[in-house]
């Protein structure tokens, strides 16, 4: 990815110099190799921009605020980030004219939690060579394959194509798309008895600390004021006081983003307790696919999505499966 980082910086410098954009939205190098932070750069500090296998943060949502400002921003979007971008453009949250999208290649983002589980702890440095990560740690050198420690969303990669881009940095060494059964776990959950499924979700959701990270990072959660923060709503809640509230927050959120969720996986990436929130979203995605035909939110920036569209052929979900849904 070093070659890609270099190409990004060259391109960004040129676009800043000719006045096409006046700032760049990317990732800034952190304390370690893996804690890059979304940041806005100008020509002066562009040297701090980093692009490697730990730039997980999806920058699309920042464009809601950035595109309200003066001037035009250059946004670095990985292929999967462009789906979120399109969806936000579709929902009139982003002013498309104020953004210059530079599509950048991605070979998958590594998950530090998975590295830790594999015993790669006390990380000091990580060198990337092809698909191999070599970590220097406080406890010696450790190596692993990036494919074994990818974020869940990267295992279910949507592919190398950018759904929106004003220009693209060419991928000179593309990697093979991973074969992953995206809906495998959803199907497993469907096959469980209601009691087993309830037990699965209870043990996951009971870990929730209501930090709202999943909501605040979610590109589909773009309400100016969330119902759960609104005292006048009657359901405002800052803490889960019982099991019902633990469930409700996540179920309501999943319903609200249904049909608009691109499966970018940010919710699961940021959850401090490792709750597989993407499974709720994928259940909705799979049901939409079954009931209304294959649909990928964010594949374009203008079509109506199934749940806000009406055709005479529309199914009645309760009826198709004998009311057992």
């Amino acid at each position: 990815m070093q070659a890609v980082e270099k190409a990004i910086k060259e391109k960004a410098r040129a676009l800043l110099a000719d006045g096409t954009v006046d700032r760049v939205l990317g990732w800034e190098k952190g304390e370690y190799c893996y804690d890059n932070t979304p940041a806005v750069f100008t020509a002066e500090n562009l040297g701090n921009l980093v692009y490697n296998s730990f730039c997980g943060a999806n920058l699309s949502k920042y464009l809601i605020a950035e595109s309200k400002k003066e001037g035009r921003v250059l946004a670095l979007l990985k292929p999967c980030d462009t789906y979120s971008f399109n969806q936000l453009v579709k929902e009139h949250r982003i002013d498309r004219e104020k953004v210059y999208v530079l599509g950048i290649p991605c070979h998958g983002i590594a998950d530090v939690e998975k590295l830790n589980v594999k015993g790669v702890k006390g990380i000091e440095r990580i060198a990337e060579d092809g698909g191999t990560l070599t970590a220097q740690t406080l406890y010696g050198e450790k190596t692993c394959e990036i494919n074994d420690v990818l974020l869940e969303r990267c295992m279910a990669c949507k592919g190398p194509e950018h759904m929106a881009a004003d220009d693209v940095i060419e991928d000179t060494a593309p990697v093979e798309l991973r074969k992953h059964d995206r809906f495998g776990m959803v199907e497993k959950l469907e096959q469980m008895t209601p009691d087993e499924r309830f037990e699965f979700w209870r043990s996951e959701l009971s870990k929730c600390i209501r930090c709202n990270a999943c909501r605040n990072v979610c590109p589909a959660c773009s309400c100016l004021k969330c119902v759960f923060d609104n005292d006048a709503s009657g359901v405002a809640a800052k803490a889960n006081v019982d099991t019902f509230e633990e469930n409700m927050f996540h179920i309501i959120r999943a319903f609200h983003v249904a049909g608009r969720c691109t499966d970018c996986g940010e919710c699961s990436r940021v959850c401090p307790q490792g709750i597989p929130l993407h499974l709720l979203n994928r259940k909705f995605i799979q049901d939409i696919n079954k009931n209304y035909g294959e649909y990928q939110a964010g594949a374009d920036d203008s079509s109506a999505w199934p749940l806000v569209d009406y055709t005479q052929e529309d199914v009645e979900p309760g009826a198709i499966e004998g009311g057992k849904n």
Binding site: Y32, A39, L138, V270
Partner: protein
Amino acid sequence: MQKIAMDRISEFFSAIAAERALYLPLKKKGAVNFGKWEEGADVDLDALHTVKSPKGLFFPQSEDLVSFKMQGKEISIDAPDAPDEKFAVFGVRACDARGMDILDRVFLSDPVDTYYAARRENGIVVTLSCSAPEETCFCSVFGIDPARPGGDVSAWIAGGFLYVKALTEKGEALLSGLSLLEAADEAEIGPAVEQVKAVMEKLPLKDLDLTGIDGSATEKLFASEKWAELSRACLGCGTCTYVCPTCQCYDIRDFDTGKEIRRYRCWDSCMYSDFTRMAHGNPRKSQVERFRQRFMHKLVYFPANNDGMYSCVGCGRCVAKCPISMNIVKVAKALGAEAKE
């Protein structure tokens, strides 16, 4: 000092749990948090940190304060009894034990928080020495020794044994009731302590410099131009505050159950948009101001009011858990660099 073989540790837990509730790090669905021990519990003493700190055992995320009910013209007011569960918490790391000292300064100062005080009184803290610190650790910056973790009882794991040593009367009382412990020589934990020391020397944040960041520089730090840049990517979520062992702000709210009003308090987060909102509005209107508040509180206001004591213990949870990887270390470095200019 006393010891028990690690392969008998569930007997040790069982003996403690026979007398009082026992909370310790339990693994559930991949995440390790403090939970109540029972036979067969999935105890995880290898995890360096629990996701949530043990502060919740003394200052729960949510607790009822009072309830009001009206029947006709009768108003009844019920306050819950003071917490009376006798408990021990095992496996508290040195950083989290220091976190308790910080919370004590807040909740045990006048006016004393009776709920917190009752839990502190009823609870016995058994700490556990770290064996494998990670790159996010910087407790030594605050003078904390992870191999001398404090508490009512300190514990070490070395050479297949769990070693315990009482440091307070409460600790003595706990251990004196445990006949399965055998006497041990303090020298036996020597190699384990040395090993931790060696790792501490290698930690990348061990020399984090807080020069110029303290209670005496309030106005200068408050006015720093770095805040806008540092807070730019902040999502305004509460992860850092909720995993923090020292964050102690809470909100008090009323919940209308339809039959009564339950007044409860719950953890609040200075990162949230309604934090410090009052009748006239909110003095902190933007995320820059909210973000600044968190770090000013930990590194400037708290030491100003508490003899120079920072309200950060260097546990590294926020470093590891922030969704956008912005944290107190990056803030301290940026402000420190500015202070030197």
